[in-house]
Amino acid sequence: MNTNLTYYLVLGICLFAVGTAGVLVRKNPLVMFMSVELMWNAVNLIFLAFSRYLADAAGQVFVFLVITVAAAEVATGLGIIVVVFRRRRSLDADRLSALKE
């Protein structure tokens, strides 16, 4: 089993950066939300790499909790997006500027 920590760290960091750029660049809230999911998973990968490297169960338990929290987050987040769409009939994050005025 290959467990070279650095390669996993670099892959996790690259995925996290792609997710960051995705949240900032895209205007469709659904795709922004998917980018956040990508960032969760990049962090999970790094957790598991450290867990394997230090032979510690805490990393795996933490990933388990993160998956649970992400499921709850997706449910509530998509609920909020559906409510916003019902009120404004639009899926453009740029138009959600009610707090600006």
Binding site: M1, N2, T3, L5, Y7, L9, L11, I13, C14, L15, F16, A17, V18, A21, G22, L24, V25, R26, K27, N28, L30, V31, F33, M34, S35, E37, L38, N41, N44, L45, L48, S51, R52, Y53, L54, A55, A57, A58, Q60, V61, F64, L65, I67, A70, A71, A72, E73, V74, A75, T76, L78, G79, I81, V82, V83, R89, L91, D92, D94, R95
Partner: protein, 162 residues
Amino acid sequence: MILFGILALLALVFAVFMVATRNAVHSALFLIGNFVILAILYITLGAEFLGLAQILVYAGAVMVLFLFVIAYLSAGTEASETGPALAWQLPLGIAAGVLSLGLLLWGTLGAVLTPTAAPPHFGSLAFLGRALFTTYLFPFEITAFLLLAALVGVVVLVRDER
């Protein structure tokens, strides 16, 4: 090593396509591909149960929910990227991504770590279950309340107001 290289390349390509493609459904499908690749990587790290949970929960349940909402809201998705653009959003967003990549790499690659030998059955269901139901029992119970709160919250949020 070769396996890791192929999987890492595929995961990155799927992630970049997920961000770059215009169509929200294609984004979701690319993200499912990325999650499956990540599940394989989890298994190569010895986390067999979490790899399977990743496929079941993320690639399965979460992405089905995403696709369902995309289909439900599809009336607005085609025009959503054509509205009045924020000035400099694209170059600044990409620059911020590259900057975070550089900062994280710079902060991480200097660290020196010594590996520890893995105990037998590391990452098996029994191993994870023992940790989850002894040392980490309290956080595990808290997640049950979290899921309940999310469930009730969504029902309250999206109910008809009539």
